[in-house]
Symmetry: C2
Subunit: 145 residues, 2 copies
């Protein structure tokens, strides 16, 4: 899962219909690590470009979780994609119907509080970012610049 | 899922073996909402007492997420359980092997950063708490007292 931020602190998010909860969800881009991917970072960079058409200057790992350790062994890797810039075209997989949208980073917490962002892994990506970004009032190494 | 905090800012957590990732995980207590439960809060209070033997003075709803909206419609409700006190006995379901443990709230972020806490829903519960607790440097209504 990727948290793509532009140099002016705008987040590139995606809207897509989710069959599980039958809603159009405001989420961060992401996807699966393919068996041939050398690292989760490579997969994250690919999914970002495919789903949004934006490319990062630098990827920063910000956290890893077990989404459902009671029954599954898979892990979710979170990356901050810094200084993303548009490359102009998306490359969606068959069956994907995704629109990207710009959301000011400063508006994210209000959207989470209001329930406009309620996908667990998306909220977690922002949480790991805030936990490591002293500018957001959380302790840790500054990875925001 | 419940974030139980004592009056001296200690979190009551649980350790249990998780078959999915084959690890003993440090987590928050929680469980399923039974069909006959009148609310998620009732379920949360029951699971807290059953899994830890601690009882809250007050339950505060702090967030709701869709854990996996791509394929599932279920939601996860997070509650802050304030001023918890021991009632002395746990009442585990058959097959549950759970030990409770005390962790200072001030140590949680370091444990998340080090990966000692890496269950997605557990990290999310703390994140929703911090997002609503100005003392942690995050904006929002103060629910810590």
């Amino acid at each position: 899962m990727v948290l793509p931020v532009t140099s002016d602190q705008t987040v590139i998010m995606v809207r897509q219909y989710r069959h599980g909860n039958e809603k159009i969800c405001l989420e961060l881009p992401g996807g699966l690590v393919d068996p041939e991917d050398e690292s989760a970072e490579i997969s994250a960079r690919r999914e970002l470009i495919e789903e949004t058409g934006w490319r990062p200057q630098r990827m920063v790992p910000i956290g890893i979780v077990y989404p459902q350790p009671a029954v599954l062994s898979n892990r979710c890797h979170f990356f901050l994609a810094r200084d993303v810039a548009p490359v102009g075209k998306m490359a969606l997989d068959a069956g994907e119907d995704i629109l990207w949208t710009e959301v000011p980073l400063a508006d994210i917490r209000a959207k989470i509080r209001k329930g406009e962002i309620d996908n667990a892994m998306t909220v977690l990506a922002f949480s790991y970012y805030w936990m490591q970004n002293p500018a957001a009032g959380m302790p840790g190494k500054d990875i925001s610049r």
